[in-house]
Amino acid sequence: DTAVSQTPKYLVTQMGNDKSIKCEQNLGHDTMYWYKQDSKKFLKIMFSYNNKELIINETVPNRFSPKSPDKAHLNLHINSLELGDSAVYFCASSQTPGQGLEQYFGPGTRLTVT
């Protein structure tokens, strides 16, 4: 009965590879987010989708492409991985943020690029 789940939990890959992280929420929320947490624990928003529509797209390299097949899923595809992409990536969801609501986070995916 996990609310926000991510797969995989750990991802170790070499520079130049392409990888995807999947996220699913069963809370009935219509907005989903991707965050990146660096080694200093600094958490920064990358993307947000509301009802499959991109509403937040921060300054993120084009190598990162989110895809939302439906409002319960938001996947993150990363092309040509670089060392600096190593981080923990968190997916989150919320109801429509217009009223300012809390976000529910997944357990994170620790990406290590070697």
Binding site: K40, L43, S94, P97, L101, G106
Partner: protein, 115 residues
């Protein structure tokens, strides 16, 4: 740019003591939220305080917000070893009177509660 900044960066206390963490931010906000992150886990929402509120309570948590000083504090009373975690404030900025859920997080306060 980083919106919220927590102070202190690390706090070590004994069980039963109170823990106070502070957060400062730079722009107008819709609301401010506090989250907890246990080691190796995702963030868990603790409490949300809106810009027109000054104080809010939830169990052993008390949050204050001073929009004139652009600061907030989180007080955890009667701390327990299980409260050991990183605590983050996150601001939901105001844009045209609407929230887009674009939370901006500080770097967090690492709280250690010794049994």
């Amino acid at each position: 740019s980083q919106q919220g900044e927590e102070d202190p960066q690390a706090l070590s206390i004994q069980e039963g003591e109170n823990a106070t963490m502070n957060c400062s931010y730079k722009t107008s906000i819709n609301n401010l939220q506090w989250y907890r992150q246990n080691s190796g886990r995702g963030l868990v929402h603790l409490i949300l305080i809106r810009s027109n509120e000054r104080e809010k309570h939830s169990g052993r948590l008390r949050v204050t917000l001073d929009t004139s000083k652009k600061s907030s504090s989180l007080l955890i009373t009667a701390s327990r070893a299980a409260d050991t975690a990183s605590y983050f404030c996150a601001t939901d900025p105001l844009r045209g009177g609407t929230s887009y859920g674009k939370l901006t997080f500080g770097q967090g306060t690492i709280l250690t509660v010794h049994p």
